[in-house]
């Protein structure tokens, strides 16, 4: 029972990340009709917003390290600590949550620049060409990040106060051994909140309503005199912010490296396809569903019966769903069908 409860949490947690990436992916597809393979790279760049802020906050004064006698070595103390003492330390400790403030404008800008300078030229081109160009863009972005930050993962700590794990078992009347890292619980809450915000934006604001109208029937909206293209550019930026924030918050879970985006890209596409191309609720539902399935299939009891199932379950489910429901769980008629 304890194990099942933990795996559900695990699945929801993973699912949160999948859903956030897939949400942006399907939003871009639904509005602009672009299959964006650079979306994983955007997630990665979000994560590196956190790395960058941490690097800035920990800019250090170099003092010769006398303990190393073989050669000239240097010790580093962050300026913030030198200037502000404990307050400086606390600011560094909170660098990941603080990165959100940095990541929102930066990711919005990256998204808009990306759309205006490259993606928009590919609206009318076949999907295969869109895939090629965005995939190329993803490689360029990740090589850029590698040349600045190196190839090794760079660990980012959660603030000390939430670095440990929560005795969540006691709350739900389970055993004492049932604990779960605080930060992962925060991540889950954060992803639910972000998903909620995106849906509220699309459903309860006029701006969102116009965007949805544009998704459904672009021509009519344009005939009404609305510059839908500009709104779609903003939507692309919003999708980049969502993926970027997912990346920022993910850094304490998984130390980011330049390849992080590619690791998530394929999975997020499977999530979008299973959920139904262009369907936002479908993407969220499929994200959580596949996250949970993946967690359960990694349990030793399951692996004993089906060895290696943890590595293929997602694709197996995708095959079954596409065979039984070719449009995915919540796909609409006419999307990617000619």
């Amino acid at each position: 029972m304890d194990a099942i409860f933990l795996q559900i949490l695990n699945g929801l947690d993973k699912g949160g990340a999948y859903a956030l990436i897939a949400l942006g992916l399907t939003l871009v597809f639904g509005t602009l009709g672009v299959v964006n393979f650079a979306h994983g790279a955007i997630f990665m760049m979000g994560a590196f917003c956190a790395v960058t802020l941490e690097k800035i906050l920990t800019l250090s004064v170099r003092v010769k390290d006398e303990s190393v006698t073989f050669f000239d070595a240097y010790k580093e103390t962050p300026y913030l600590e030198v200037w502000f003492g404990e307050t400086g330390k606390a600011i560094i400790d909170w660098s990941v949550p603080l990165s959100i403030i940095l990541a929102i404008p930066v990711m919005l800008l990256i998204g808009i620049v990306m759309e205006r300078s490259l993606i928009r030229y590919f609206y009318k081109r076949p999907h295969a060409e869109q895939i090629l160009v965005t995939f190329g863009l993803a490689i360029v972005l990740q090589e850029l990040v590698k040349s600045f930050f190196g190839a090794n993962p760079i660990p980012q700590g959660a603030p000390d106060i939430v670095a440990g794990s929560a005795a969540i078992g006691a709350v739900f009347g389970l055993g004492e051994s049932v604990v779960y890292p605080w930060w992962r619980l925060i991540y889950l809450a954060f992803s639910l909140l972000t998903i909620g915000l995106v849906f509220s934006f699309l459903h309860f604001t006029t701006y969102g309503m116009v965007v949805r109208a544009g998704m459904a029937d672009r021509e009519t909206v344009e005939l009404l005199g609305i510059n839908i293209e500009r709104r779609f550019t903003i939507v692309f930026g919003i999708a980049a912010v969502v993926a970027g924030l997912a990346g920022v918050m993910y850094t304490p879970v998984l130390p980011p490296d330049y390849h992080l985006g590619m690791d998530f890209l394929v999975l997020s596409f499977v999530v979008v396809v299973v959920g139904g191309m262009g369907s936002l609720p479908g993407a969220v539902l499929a994200g959580f569903l596949l996250g949970i399935l993946q967690s359960f299939s990694s349990m030793t009891e399951v692996k004993d019966i089906f060895p290696g199932i943890d590595q293929i379950i997602i694709y197996l489910v995708a095959v079954v769903i596409l065979l039984t429901r070719p449009r995915g769980l919540m796909g609409r008629r006419g999307v990617m069908e000619s």
Binding site: Q7, S67, F70, K75, G150, N152, I154, P155, S295
Partner: protein, 453 residues
Amino acid sequence: MSETKNTRNVTRRTILKGTAATTGAALIGGTFPMHFIKNAHAQTFRGDPGSSGSVKLGFNVPQTGPYADEGADELRAYQLAVKHLNGEGDGGMLNTIKPLELKGNGILGKKVEFVTGDTQTKSDAARASAKRMIEKDNVAMVTGGSSSGVAIAVQGLCQEMGVIFMAGLTHSNDTTGKDRKRYGFRHFFNAYMSGQAIAPVLKDEYGTDRRAYHLTADYTWGWTQEESIKAATENIGWETVNTVRTPVGAGDFSQYITPVLNSGADVLILNHYGKDMVNSLTQAVQFGLRDKQVNGKNFEIVVPLYSRLMAQGAGDAAKGILGTTNWHWSLTDPGSQAFVKSFGQEYGFPPSQAAHTCYVQTLLYANACEMAGTFAPWEVIKQLEGFEFDGAGNGPTLYRAEDHQCFKDVLVVRGKQEPQSNFDLLEVVKQVPRSQVEYPADMFGGELGPYQV
């Protein structure tokens, strides 16, 4: 008209005169006929520098992909080795390794040059790049790499092509076990040695009544390490609760870690390396494993193969964690100090264990050529086989003839609680003597193959 007549008038006398003149000219000009030179070999071989004034070595390291930083450090070490071989810089371990015939004038008087290749930590890319260096650049020796999968693949290729391979960082028992090759040599230690070295320390630190849970990278190195560590810990009375294989590059290991919480295990052994180890260790700590009490004992995590670069990647999570390494820069023997000094002065930070093994491998190869008096690989191999030396860190070392595995002291290390500097991340708990990690040469099977291919 008269010329034609002359050439037709060939007598026995003119032929003799001509032959003598040609031989004389050749002797004076420096192109000696082969039978006049000591240790000359009529047989040709790949990578033969011939009459050229330089010899080329092939450095095949991961320059892209997840181990790129490790590869970069290997390359730094190789460049330093080339400098020292050519008599530049302070000479490094050339001053400490004994016995040594190197004089700082290249190898056999030829200047050392090198070409580099990118293994990408993929077997096929590594083989393609090694092949290019052998066929196109005519390298006399190939070295490098930081994965056992790659080492075994390149070693196989080098055996087929008749070029010596001095392995870089590879820790699988198979490299000098069932996949050993006549043309392959490994200075780095292996999983079995890690097990033998760390078990007594684990016994002292955590006692004999422990229940271990293994998470293992699902490929040759992971499998042999799991097998070796399991055997060594069961030997000191530990019980193995479960062994779970995880895909290489899984990223998020949480679904493999949560089952550990309720398994009744009180030790988690991570048979992971590089990025996988950084991730699994960080996540295991996040799940509160190290704050846990199980069976009335503190829960412990062990990382059998440890490196400073990985400790750097794992940050605080690595503090207090036990593991083994081939070598560490804080060793105080003259060889290690000489190397750390040269490397530190050149690059501003200490070398990693990968850099150390690659540096030593290059010098050992060069020295074997010098001892053999030729680059002919079958003669160089004979010099390396059974070679005993000291002064390269890790104490007196033997290159065992039967499997081409080096035997030397192994280090048990612990993640430092209070690091003094950016790279002061591991402390040496114990330098385990060579005698404790030795094993019979036929234990893992395997055949070296022929000297000449």
